[in-house]
């Protein structure tokens, strides 16, 4: 049965011409990939384009897939590359100093109201806002962990940086979120 197969087996079956295997695989991964892309780019139309292009590239390079890596890592790697390309075309990459400045500016107002109790709706709205405001590399590290379920090592390999850098990016992202919701 196709449903009992792992993602990697399904991908290999699709590479051999089994279209049903792809349908199963797609059903499993579509939500995760779409949310990762959408929350990374922050725009629905752009997210649709990146999402479709991600699958298109997967289809084209299906015969090059090797089961040594997790399928989700390979899929997210394709999406990550497209997102990076999209952002590079849209605007220049922000430097680390600029990122710290933005974080400080975002931290200030909320830190002044620690006792504020937020409604659940307000909490979701703020989380969405703070995720959108995060620098791309921090937001991606956060999303790859929480949406893709990747560990530090996988995130580091996928983004092409060291584990300490990944850890630092995640730390910055969590600090911003925590401070926006002040305990």
């Amino acid at each position: 049965m196709g449903a009992e197969k792992t993602d990697e087996e399904l991908m290999l079956a699709y590479a051999q011409g089994d279209a049903r295997a792809f349908e199963t695989l797609y059903a499993r991964q579509r939500g995760m990939l779409y949310r990762y892309v959408l929350r990374s780019v922050g725009d629905r139309a752009l997210a649709d384009d990146v999402y479709q292009e991600t699958w298109s590239r997967l289809v084209v390079s299906r015969t090059r897939y090797r089961a040594e890596s997790k399928f989700s890592t390979w899929l997210l790697q394709i999406a990550h590359n497209l997102i990076i390309d999209t952002f590079r075309r849209a605007w220049p990459q922000a430097g680390a100093e600029e990122t710290d400045t933005i974080l400080r500016e975002l931290d200030a107002p909320e830190s002044e109201q620690p006792e504020r109790v937020l409604s659940e709706f307000e909490q979701r709205r703020r989380l969405q806002m703070v995720l959108d405001a995060l620098p791309l590399e921090q937001r991606e590290a956060f999303l790859l962990r929480i949406e893709g379920g990747l560990g530090l090592e996988e995130i580091s390999r996928l983004t092409g940086v060291g584990q300490e850098t990944t850890k630092s990016r995640l730390r910055y992202a969590l600090a911003k979120i925590r401070e926006r919701f002040s305990e």
Partner: protein, 322 residues
């Protein structure tokens, strides 16, 4: 606990997904998914990428074959009648050809009505061979039919080609007499003024004249038997012959033979054809007549030759011949 320590614990729990408040809060966010159109687009793309392409290749050979068949059929249809007529003319008997030609003639509105289908006349190859020097003008008679329909015109144009195998039917009122008169007039003219040799005559006719077949020789011999009372020249004989043509027969056989097939009088057959030859060939024929003990005929030919080529240096054996 300092802020840094709290952050480190939060990071640890976030990475371990244990009691992470931020992770729990993230799970409360709406879980967006691609819309159905996007799903359908991706799935269609994935299916097309691995779909077999046999269906596209299946109809291509069939279409190519159909196109070839259509082209061949079109070419055969356009070239067919012409090719088929040629083939039929070459392979069918003269009777069949005559009937076919008669039908064509009747179908032509410009042609006079034909009283009855003419009996097919047998071709006379020996006479034709003897008179082959006239084959250069075979199209004159068929051209008079002036056919109006395409098929009749095509048949008329083919008549010169077909005359050697079968007699071309004519629709003239007096088809047999006219060619004889023409021939006699030619003989007359040639006697009065030396005509240049017919250099444009077809080679095959020339060969047939120089090297007549056995049938031609027989015909010549038969003509020489009647030779005695033909000393008046070819004209009188031609007139007499043309007068002797049965008018009833002429009417009954309106599809007379072309001039090449009309039996000429013996005198015309002996001298008139030769005077169309090159002098050397004519001399050869005269010598041949002598060898065949047809002395009178040879002398008559020699006289004609001397009239036509007075300055020609004759061979010694012929110079003495009187």
């Amino acid at each position: 606990m300092s802020g840094n320590e709290k952050l480190e614990r939060e990071l640890e729990s976030f990475l371990a997904e244990e009691n992470s408040r931020i992770a729990a809060l993230y799970r409360t966010l709406p879980r967006q998914e691609p819309d159905a159109a996007l799903d359908a687009s991706v799935l269609a793309m994935a299916r097309n990428a691995v779909a077999p392409k046999r269906s596209r290749n299946r109809w291509l050979p069939a279409l190519s074959a159909a196109a070839v068949v259509l082209i061949v059929a079109g070419v055969a249809y356009r070239a067919g009648p012409h090719v088929w007529n040629n083939r039929g003319t070459q392979t069918t008997s003269p009777i069949g050809n005559a009937a076919d030609e008669a039908k064509t003639t009747v179908a032509s509105p410009a042609s006079p009505p034909v009283a009855a289908a003419p009996p097919a006349q047998e071709p006379r190859p020996s006479v034709t061979a003897d008179l082959g020097v006239y084959a250069a003008k075979p199209a004159a008679a068929p051209a008079k039919t002036a056919p109006t329909d395409t098929l009749a015109r095509r048949k008329t144009a083919e008549a010169p080609r077909l005359q050697s195998s079968a007699p071309a039917p004519q629709v003239f009122a007096q088809p047999q007499a006219a060619p004889v008169e023409v021939e006699a007039e030619r003989a007359d003219k040639s006697a009065a003024t030396p005509a240049p040799p017919a250099r444009d005559a077809p080679l095959q006719s020339l060969d047939a004249t120089i090297f007549p077949s056995k049938e031609a020789q027989k015909t010549e011999a038969a003509a020489s038997v009647q030779d005695d009372d033909q000393k008046d020249g070819s004209r009188g004989r031609a007139k007499a012959t043309s007068g002797a043509v049965n008018p009833a027969q002429s009417r009954a056989a309106p599809t007379a033979m072309a001039p090449e097939f009309v039996p000429a009088p013996a005198a015309a057959m002996t001298a008139a054809p030769n005077n169309r030859l090159y002098p050397e060939h004519w001399i050869s024929n005269i010598e041949k007549l002598l060898r065949e003990n047809r002395r009178d005929e040879a002398i008559r030919n020699l006289d004609e030759f001397r009239k036509q080529y007075p300055d020609y240096r004759l061979p010694d054996d012929l110079r003495e011949l009187k």
